[in-house]
């Protein structure tokens, strides 16, 4: 039976004939109507204007004989040896923003970092990246960055500010006062050493770590279980059965890039792999991870503990009531030592039970390592709460805020702000304006991470380095150097790290420290043999006791709240990044806002519809989104929005949901029970990329189940043989003499993390258009990830499909261009010559995939006429423009653009091969999207080479082309999605 796919609930409800009815267009005017209006209106219209304009320009051109501007060519005074003008250098570095870690390469063109790529040498992230990592290069050119050190808001010099601060710090610590250094989890060993130096100089200094995305409960549970607060190393790549309780490990939980890589390695079915892991996910709102699960079970936040307890009971031999749990327990028992159960619960008791479950399953030592620790998110939530209390009592004399913003993201903001006011000395290292830093006495702006030296130990023995890829743009100074300076050391931080590594990390070998150090800087990563001390065996009796008293699943009828971080804006630190703000959410496809996701049931009860407004606990108003798969009485809201200070794109976007967080069991709670929800009059428009690009009722996505696949590899893709029979043409088949580029996308590997979209935007200078334009369906992304729901709207399955230009060999767009601006290349690429395009948009209309994008305005300041500029997000100010890739033309108003298969990367690698006098190797050319992908779902290569990876994927029986029946012969192939559902 054919599954029915739908993109929104409206689509599911409304019969197709209604869709064609003009009424469905809502407040949008029909084109016909607009034309009639235009005809009735008198006075000059656009055409007259164009006629006049054309004549004026032509005559002006002749009359003025068009003076050419004088262009300068300014060489270096002393040319650095490694710099070849026009050639990119790559430097290994590390992205760590206090939450997420990623080992990266920084592409530097003529002195400017312009792109982030994954570092394939890393044993942790293995060349993968996340959307935020990709976008972080734009933060370097953030307008809201501090440009000078500030003393009470006045610009000052480093010498003066140092003298004053050292004086005050000395005075406080001299009289035995308290100084607090508040930072997110520090995973840099050298920074910790620098903090220790600082503490020695100023006794009475205390380091408090504060993570916005905290794992406080896991730490506490492990302390109870093993006597040590740590996060173990997880190995999803060794797990055949994965059970997740609300842990969005593919999107935001602990180390998502690493976990994605591991997870997907167990889900790939080509290259001879015949087995797949099974993933069952319990959650309340639809998350990225839940939407990828083989089975998703909707529970209330309040029920998580009971479900976990039942699972523990079932596994330890007691009788469980819930049939789902019994089945899961059976599945788990068959995969002892090859399974993994994780939870994001902020309740230590639940985490304790999770530990016990993993212990019973023998997962410790296999999929969970206690001798290797994950070092991120080590902060204890209670410490921050205690600090806030103390500050409110005026017990803290000085506070140094390092990369934190509690005035925005601490739930009890009033108390924190009041405490901060009572603290006499407030120093901040924040490099970007924020709610907290704007209230500080002294602003000592830190470098951006791409301007800094740093080191990291993300997992036990897994070290990595960050090196500057550019000289600091503004008069800033690295925070560690400030600490060292105040501690009385004149060392620069690079020397400090080097010395630290020589003493603590380097193990004497024959080549000596200098070559060791150079290799580490070159590779960006170093793995030592270091292991943590072994922990005692786990005693599960405490957990069992908890389980037996908490195992009743209560059908609580109150409203519940489920706060979450999304993959784009995250904790809100990167809110002033237009690339991230314009990134559609992987589930709802909404950008530029957060919203309250509710179930259809709740909507019906309260008389709500999409874009209605509600308040939650009197906070809001939040626009409503009716989300398939949402728990009936749970409201999900993304954190990280509603910034009040921090730049054009951050301020006023969405509502700050942090005040909704609760505090219980010693941890800040993302999920709370008993929320009050009230309807507010009015509506708020949300920018969705959802209802455009619809591919009505055809087999665009194809999927099957593992059992069916093992039985017949073609299952789900049977229709392809039928289609192939009918493909007939009177034209000769196009042949490609040398190279024929193609792309294969494994739908089984794609998890929808959006890293490719940002990577594409960075590589190809794809403009940001802003919310208003997205509302008019004018977003410019060259690659989009379509998502379709299927099945029961109360708990649907979800399937995603990345779509970019399919580079058809019989491209329908090419035939209709009146000026031959889009043509086919001898390497199978559908080319687009922007300077030739006159903007008829015929190609756009004739493209069956709707992947062409039209520049309705001049979004990039590439146009000769200043009046055409449309830039709501300050993307065309000089500073921001430094991120542009000089190899790719910025497009002016009135031209079509689309995916070019990263032609500049192809040409670059071809030239390299030619210079080295050798054929191009398979896998040498990697498009930006494929490079960024943490799951290697996208494979690019030469289809003429029958041995290439992409050819082998094209030959796979799962391979199909979208709309193949049109005989457009796309160069992009998809492998059917296989779900492990029928166990």
């Amino acid at each position: 039976m054919e599954k029915k796919y739908y993109k929104s609930l409206e689509e599911l409800r409304i019969a197709p004939d209604e869709f064609q009815n003009g009424e469905m267009l809502g407040d949008k005017k029909s084109l016909l109507l607009m034309e009639q209006e235009l005809k009735q209106s008198t006075g000059p219209n656009r055409r007259d204007f164009l006629k006049l304009f054309g004549f004026t320009v032509a005559s002006a051109a002749v009359a003025a004989s068009c003076e050419q501007p004088v262009r300068k060519a300014i060489p270096f005074l002393i040319q650095p040896e490694e710099v070849t003008p026009g050639k990119a250098n790559y430097y290994a570095s590390t992205f760590y923003d206090g939450n997420d870690y990623c080992s990266i390469l920084v592409k530097v063109r003529d002195g400017r970092p312009i792109k982030i790529e994954g570092n394939t040498l890393s044993a942790v992230t293995g060349g993968g990246t996340s959307a935020r990592t990709q976008a972080s290069v734009l933060d370097l050119y953030d307008n809201a960055r501090y440009r000078e050190p500030l003393n009470q808001g006045q610009e000052t010099s480093w010498e003066q500010i140092d003298a004053e601060i050292m004086n005050k710090l000395g005075e406080i610590s001299g009289r035995g006062g308290r100084i607090v250094l508040l930072s997110p989890t520090l995973i840099s060993p050298s920074t910790k050493a620098a903090v220790d130096l600082f503490k020695n100089r100023y006794p009475g200094t205390e380091l408090v770590q504060y993570d916005t995305t905290s794992a406080s409960a896991i730490l506490k549970a492990n302390e109870l279980s093993f006597g040590k607060a740590f996060i173990p190393a997880y190995h999803f790549d060794k797990a055949d059965v994965i059970i997740g309780f609300d842990a969005d490990f593919l999107g935001t939980w602990l180390s998502p890039v690493e976990f994605t890589k591991q997870y997907v390695s167990k889900r790939k079915l080509h290259e001879g792999n015949k087995a797949m892991s099974r993933h069952i996910h319990f959650e309340s709102g639809m998350s990225l991870t839940g939407s990828n699960a083989d089975k998703r079970i909707v529970i209330k936040p309040s029920q998580q503990k009971a479900y976990v307890a039942q699972l523990l009971l079932a596994l330890s031999g007691s009788a469980a009531e819930n049939p789902e749990i019994i089945k899961i327990a059976e599945e788990l028992s068959t995969a002892k030592g090859r399974s993994l159960v994780v939870s994001n619960s902020q309740d230590a008791e639940t985490q304790l039970m999770i530990n016990a479950i993993n212990e019973l399953l023998g997962n410790y030592g296999n999929t969970l390592l206690t001798d290797v620790h994950l070092k991120v998110r080590q902060a204890d939530d209670a410490a921050m709460t205690k600090l806030t209390e103390e500050m409110a009592q005026g017990a803290v004399d000085g506070i140094i805020l390092y990369d934190v913003n509690p005035s925005y993201d601490f739930p009890d903001r009033e108390k924190w702000v009041a405490g901060l006011e009572k603290t006499s000395l407030k120093i901040t290292f924040n490099s970007v304006k924020s709610e907290t830093s704007e209230t500080a006495n002294y602003v000592c702006p830190d470098h951006h991470y791409l301007e800094s030296w740093n080191d990291f130990e993300v997992k036990t023995g897994h070290y990595s380095l960050a090196q500057p890829a550019i000289r600091h743009i503004f008069n800033t100074r690295q925070a560690q150097e400030s600490l060292l300076k105040w501690a009385g050391s004149e060392k620069d931080f690079r020397t400090f790290i080097q010395e630290y590594w020589q003493q603590n990390i380097y193990q004497t070998d024959l080549t000596g420290f200098v070559s060791f150090w150079n290799k580490c800087v070159h590779d960006g990563v170093y793995v030592s043999e270091k292991k943590e001390t072994p922990v005692p065996a786990l005693d599960i009796s405490a957990a069992s006791a908890i389980a037996s008293t908490n195992s009743v699943i209560v059908a609580d009828d109150s409203y519940q709240l489920d706060l979450y971080y999304n993959v784009s804006v995250g904790s809100g630190k990167h809110a002033n990044n237009p690339w991230l703000q314009e990134l559609p959410d992987p589930v709802t496809k909404i950008c530029w806002d957060n919203y309250a996701a509710i179930s259809q049931k709740l909507a019906d009860e309260m008389g709500l519809e999409d874009e209605s407004l509600i308040t939650i606990n009197k906070l809001g108003p939040f626009p409503v989104v009716i989300q398939p798969g949402q728990e009936s009485r749970t409201v999900s809201v993304a954190l990280g929005y509603g910034r009040e200070k921090g730049g054009k794109s951050a301020v006023g976007v969405g509502v700050n949901a942090y005040p909704l967080m609760g505090f219980a069991h010693g941890s800040r709670q993302l999920q709370t029970i008993g929320a009050s929800i009230e309807k507010v009059n009015g509506k708020f428009r949300l920018a969705r990329t959802q209802t455009h690009h619809s591919m009505e009722g055809r087999q665009i996505v194809r999927e099957t189940t593992l059992a069916a696949y093992l039985d017949n590899p073609k299952s789900g893709n049977e229709i392809r043989d039928e289609i192939k029979k009918h493909l007939k043409t009177i034209y000769p088949k196009k042949e490609y003499a040398g190279l024929h580029w193609g792309m294969a996308i494994d739908l089984n590997s794609c998890i929808g993390c959006n890293a490719c979209i940002v990577a594409c935007s960075a590589e190809n200078n794809v403009p940001v258009v802003g919310k208003e334009q997205v509302l008019m369906a004018r977003e410019m992304h060259w690659i989009r990830i379509d998502r379709y729901y299927t099945g029961d709207p109360e708990n649907p399955e979800l399937i995603r499909q990345p779509v970019m230009c399919q580079h058809c060999d019989n491209a329908p767009c090419e035939n209709v261009c009146p000026v031959a601006a889009t043509t086919h290349s001898d390497e199978g690429i559908n080319q687009m010559a922007y300077n030739r395009c006159i903007g008829t948009r015929y190609c756009n209309n004739n493209c069956p995939y709707k992947v062409r994008r039209f520049n309705f305005f001049d979004y990039t300041n590439a146009d000769a006429l200043p009046g055409n500029l449309y830039d709501t997000e300050e993307m065309t100010v000089d500073l921001r423009k430094l991120v542009l890739n000089p190899d790719v033309t910025t497009r002016a108003k009135g031209v079509i653009e689309k995916c070019s298969f990263c032609i500049q990367r192809i040409q670059d690698k071809k030239l390299k091969a030619k210079i080295e006098n050798r054929p191009l190797a398979d896998g040498e050319v990697i498009t930006a999207c494929a490079q960024a992908c943490p799951s290697q779902a996208i494979v690019f290569g030469n289809l003429n080479d029958k041995e290439s990876k992409v050819s082998l994927m094209f030959a796979d029986e799962r391979n199909y082309h979208v709309l193949e029946e049109l005989h457009v012969l796309p160069s992009v192939g998809y492998l059917t999605k296989v779900k492990n559902t029928n166990v």
Partner: protein, 403 residues
């Protein structure tokens, strides 16, 4: 018109090319003094003689006996590193030669050994490669012939350029005169009615409209192009003196032309390699060189005026054309070595690019990259096609230059 020139330049280097072909055929690279060494020595030549008068750096005769090979390899590759490491010989040399740094040379060990063998051999390539080389007399004869032809050609070229410029300049006047005629005729036709015969009006209107249209069209296509652009540079730098008289290889200054997109304009430091010593010239005396020295001392780079400009939507890569396609610089830039002030000789229009792509052969058999084009190789072997030009491997595709 200038099409002959590159050909001549090629003949000019005939020895080199013949040798090079020999070298490619022999495939013997590891041993000694290949033509590649001769090419690499062009860079050394700017400061070093093997024998004869001492230039900026020491003479190289007997250098292989004076120093160890290991030391030489290190020093040639990056002299500053050796000096900074405190090597006594290096430091002494540095002091002796007025602290002028020798720029680093990114050569492999083999390439340097090769170069040393070439120096040891007194600046001659090995006999096996030299076999095909003509005798001195032949070379001299050929050279004389080439010089003569070149001189003639240049004369012609200069005249043509002059003519074209004049022609361009006249457009404006013609346009205005024609426009006046048109207005007068129209005025007469409608108001004064002096000329009774109407057909005179018609003819004059038709002719002037045609001329105006033609000029408009020509001017419009010329928009944004800068053929014959010859701006005055901040420093009167003569390529004729440097490249022709002193025979400094183009690559000595434009060193990234084989590696990257841009040919590179030399840094002041590179100028100072020679001008630390050479402080006055025959034509301008000390005036112009002083500007370079000033730049060095004040730390302000010289702001040259860019002559060859391409629009932003065009991607052009020098390495592709010079290193891969083995084109001579003069193919696009004209005889720069004959120019005191550089002028753009071609219009750099798309038509001009494509014309060349359609007729220029690619290094199809010598570059292994093209092995992928199996079918073309077969056709070439069977004689179905005579040659493979750039457009046959996609050289006329839009996205070769526009992306």
């Amino acid at each position: 018109m200038i099409r002959l020139l590159p050909l001549l330049n090629r003949i000019n280097r005939v020895g080199l090319i013949v040798l090079f072909t020999g070298f490619l055929m022999s495939g013997n690279q590891a041993q000694a003094q290949t033509p590649e060494a001769e090419k690499n020595f062009q860079v050394c030549k700017a400061c070093h003689n093997i024998d004869g008068p001492k230039l900026i750096g020491p003479n190289l005769a007997g250098v292989t006996e004076r120093r160890t090979t290991e030391w030489l390899i290190k020093f040639i590759r990056n002299s500053q590193e050796v000096i900074q490491s405190g090597d006594p010989i290096a430091v002494q040399l540095f002091e002796e030669y007025n602290r002028i740094p020798m720029p680093p040379n990114p050569l492999s060990d083999e390439q340097i050994m090769d170069l040393l063998a070439y120096i040891k051999n007194g600046g001659k390539v090995a006999a096996e490669f030299a076999q095909a080389a003509p005798t001195d007399e032949q070379v001299a004869q050929k050279q004389a012939l080439i010089d003569e032809m070149q001189a003639k050609h240049l004369e012609n070229e200069a005249r043509l350029i002059e003519l074209e410029r004049d022609a361009n300049r006249n457009f404006g006047t013609t346009f205005i005169i024609t426009l006046i005629i048109l207005i007068v005729v129209l005025f007469d036709l409608l108001v004064t009615k002096v000329i009774k015969a109407r057909f005179v009006h018609s003819i004059l209107i038709l002719v002037s409209v045609f001329i105006i249209g033609e000029i408009l069209y020509k001017e419009a296509t010329m928009l944004g192009r800068q053929q014959y652009y010859q701006p005055e540079q901040p420093v009167w730098f003569s390529h004729r003196i440097h490249a022709e008289q002193n025979k400094i290889d183009c690559l000595y200054c434009h060193s990234s032309v084989e590696k990257g997109k841009s040919a590179g304009i030399p840094s002041t430091q590179l100028c100072m390699n020679c001008h630390n010593v050479v402080r006055s010239g025959k034509i301008t005396g000390t005036v112009e060189i002083a500007k370079v020295i000033e730049s060095w001392e004040t730390g302000k780079p010289i702001e040259w005026i860019r002559i060859h400009n391409l629009p932003d939507h065009v991607y052009f890569n020098h390495a592709q054309h010079v290193q891969v396609a083995k084109l001579d610089c003069a193919e696009c830039h004209g005889a720069v070595e004959k120019m005191d002030e550089v002028m753009q000789v071609h219009d750099l229009s798309m038509g001009w690019c494509l014309e060349c792509h359609r007729k220029t052969e690619v290094q199809f058999t010598s570059n292994s990259f093209y092995e992928t084009y199996e079918k073309l190789h077969e056709q070439l072997k069977s004689g179905q096609i005579k040659k493979v030009t750039a457009d046959m491997v996609g050289g006329d595709n839009c996205m070769k230059c526009h992306y």
